[in-house]
Symmetry: C2
């Protein structure tokens, strides 16, 4: 049965790609209220396909805008978000035949249909929402994050249905969200409030990447995060820097002073107590990382492209990006950002600052440390508001379970190689929710590549990995069903 499902997938490969393109054409930018209708359209597109391939109980689950997001009001002069929740897409198939006298296990398949904003638009070689094939890749916003990987799940399920006479070899629930790029508060609330509707033995999350081309990879650790805004207010209204320069406080200078005090020049974060709870990777894990095929100079040149790499001294790049907390500034809205010269002292300015967290840094506690430290740095004449936009736990997944073995075996069949266990510097908060609320482990089997330009212009997905991903998931679900 596995082989006929794989055959079906191979026979239908070109159609699968065309369908993916149709999904990629929908600009489901969840953070942008102007794309709210597009985002819903993507949900409906996915739901329709789930119905078509044979999944049952297909429905959209509305999410409400949580209080935390409602409180995210910025003052006049800045963009004020009016975000509604984007629906979850749910489907299931719960009557797989018992295996060896026991009920078939249930796999919960997770992916997301929303994408990052495409800006800066002028750096795209082909339009972000017009998927384009070049050099074996498909280029589009969302190609790898996460529509391509979402479509891998869909097409694995379709292939299994086709090869099994309209049945699946394992119970499956599908839960797909549309707010992954904006904090995923809606899915978190649903998982917390309705765990009984998601009962499963294992979750399959495909929103991560392979360590290198042709190297089957399971991600067993994720950083957490807190995403914040610091709003600095000075004068009541914007003032002319000629008239008032020397008397009026400057919110940008204030933010610069604060940011400069958050991190020293070596990259060490200066928030008191910030590192207190940081758990170190085990000696075995560190040893395995050292054995990974990683060329720091190649990484610097081809992936980062800066003159040198930065970060905390005394740690390797993999440690710094996987197992050490970091702090970044993403944008500083306010004032005059057009071409030319406007000599304004803006009344207010904002810094978008996030921190990546590692086990065992708790987001709420870390935010409290940060907020209190930032407030202690407030320059005179300035009032500050420090806001938490969203957060997620760091997690480490156990490698000692049958589902990990089902995954490594599946990928060995496809790639002919042993799986490497890595961590990821990114955050997939839902994995923490699945552990905490459902008590189930997640298999983080992703098929992206390090140079896929995640969240950046010219995001892409290697089409070979799209197809190998489908075969891997087919085999994984068969293995879980047979276990």
């Amino acid at each position: 049965m596995t082989e006929s499902a794989v055959m079906f997938a191979k026979d239908n490969a070109p159609r699968f790609v065309e369908e993916l393109k149709a999904l990629l054409r929908i600009p489901s930018v969840s953070t942008d209220p102007a794309h709210a209708a597009d985002t819903r359209r993507a949900a409906e597109f996915v739901a329709a396909e789930l119905r078509r391939i044979g999944m049952e109980n297909v429905r959209l689950i509305e999410t409400s805008t949580p209080e935390l997001i409602l409180a995210y009001g910025v003052g006049p002069g800045l963009v004020v978000p009016a975000r509604n929740g984007h629906p979850l897409v749910y489907a299931d198939y719960l009557h797989a035949a018992p295996v060896k006298g026991r009920p078939a296990p249930t796999a919960l398949l997770y992916a997301h249909y929303d994408v990052q904003p495409p800006d800066p638009l002028d750096e795209w070689k082909s339009p972000p929402f017009e998927p384009t094939e070049r050099d074996g890749n498909i280029y589009a916003r969302g190609a790898v994050d996460d529509k391509g990987q979402l479509w891998i799940h869909m097409k694995a399920l379709e292939s299994l249905f086709a090869a099994n006479g309209g049945k699946l070899p394992v119970n499956v629930r599908v839960l797909i969200e549309g707010e992954e790029e904006v904090g995923g508060e809606g899915i978190a609330a649903f998982v917390r409030e309705h765990p009984e509707q998601l009962a499963a033995e294992v979750a399959l999350v495909s929103d991560s990447e392979m360590f290198a081309p042709d190297l089957p990879t399971l991600c067993v650790g994720l950083r957490g995060m807190i995403y914040t805004e610091i709003e600095a207010r000075g004068a009541r209204t914007d003032l002319h820097s000629g008239m008032y320069g020397g008397a009026a406080p400057n919110p940008f200078v204030a933010l610069a002073q604060i940011i400069a005090s958050l991190k020293d020049e070596s990259g060490k974060i200066l928030i008191p107590g910030f590192y207190d709870k940081v758990a170190k990777p085990s000696a075995d894990e560190l040893k395995a990382w050292k054995a990974l095929p990683f060329d720091e100079e190649h990484y610097r040149e081809t992936e980062v492209g800066s003159t040198v790499l930065t970060g905390e001294p005394g740690y390797s790049v993999l440690e710094r990006t996987w197992a050490r907390p970091t702090l970044d500034v993403h944008g500083m809205p306010g004032g005059f950002i057009g071409a030319g010269a406007k000599t304004v002292i803006p009344a207010r300015a904002v810094a978008k600052v996030s921190m990546r967290l590692v086990p065992d840094q708790a987001p709420a506690e870390t935010f409290a440390l940060y907020k209190s430290y930032v407030e202690s740095l407030c320059p005179k004449g300035i009032t500050l508001e420090v806001r938490l936009i969203h957060s997620g736990d760091a997690i480490v997944v156990s490698t000692d379970n049958p589902y990990v073995r089902a995954a490594t075996s599946a990928m060995h069949d496809v790639f002919g190689k042993d799986t490497v266990f890595i961590r990821s510097g990114g955050s997939i908060p839902i994995v923490g929710d699945f552990i905490r609320e459902l008590g189930i482990p997640s298999i983080l089997m992703g098929f992206g590549l390090p140079d896929d330009n995640l969240h950046a212009p010219n995001e892409k997905f290697l089409l070979a990995n799209f197809h190998r991903g489908i075969e891997s998931i087919i085999r994984f679900l068969e293995n879980v069903g047979a276990s």
Copy 2:
């Protein structure tokens, strides 16, 4: 004759205001390429009126985009200006009757028809380009800076023509620019290259303000400026802060570190050598400033509206804003500035930084000190480009000349009070050009008020001052003609 010109102005006051409104409706935002046609339309509007009232040789003088501005290219992902020069408007009347056997002197009248961008739009109580009267004021972008004051010149000339049988009591040249808000490179080049076309004994510049309502004021000092951009580049493209946080340099953090090193917490600028050439005001001038009606607490509350005033310790507010150099940050384009959370490490970010200069700080020399210091602060992994966008000399105008007496006498007739001599913290580079290239002093007779919201939302102009301004300029030109 003076009295009949004043009478004409009074009789026609409502019409004058309606005409001003028509000019204010033209969004001549010189810095914005999208408003290039509007900016030209404002020039043509002014030229047509000069012709109508009886001025001669009325023409638009095209300005070319200087190399300095052409070099102002910002990289992909940021707005790239494609600015063309905005024309000068020239007119003259050069056959005034001789006075006491000597040729009549010539006054060169300067103002500007371009305006600042209106953003942030949502803070305006009435639309910026729909002039609205409220409480005796006219509200619009450009109301006081400088269309209202430009129109004062026009209407004083019209009144003098009307009362003098189509003649003026003094030779007049009018030179009106459309690039004052973007550095005025065009007019500077014209003054430098064609001083013979501007031969005059005195310039009249109305682009400044009165120290207090009802207090006739001449501005005898202006700060200079350098307006710069620091562009920081890190990674080749935008990167995901999860994947690359801990390895990729962050241009915003770099800019924050640099800005925090430009100015200490007390407001002192830290650029080595920055204060070396600063000339102190004379003891007499400082004494006169102390006698001015200035209530620091009232200024803080009503004008600035911040919790405290900031700036260099040891200097009064008037000293800090008039006679001390200052540094401000106006905006930090780059990265993600929309609503919500985008976890990008931007490839590049820019800080718009300007410094106000005082006598005898030379702009070029100060920029060199600044650039070299900023470059010395460059964090690792970052490359910097420090650009000069435009600059202007600081100047102090002599009070010992007959034109100052013509002005103080005119304003005494209108306001019934002695004139106070002040400085302004702002920059009017053309005044330096008139001194340097034409060898003539400028009379800085302005009728704005400190709370006119220059360069900010809800810019306004007190209509009473519009009318008193017209009468003052009528009397001033009569006085110059009779001198």
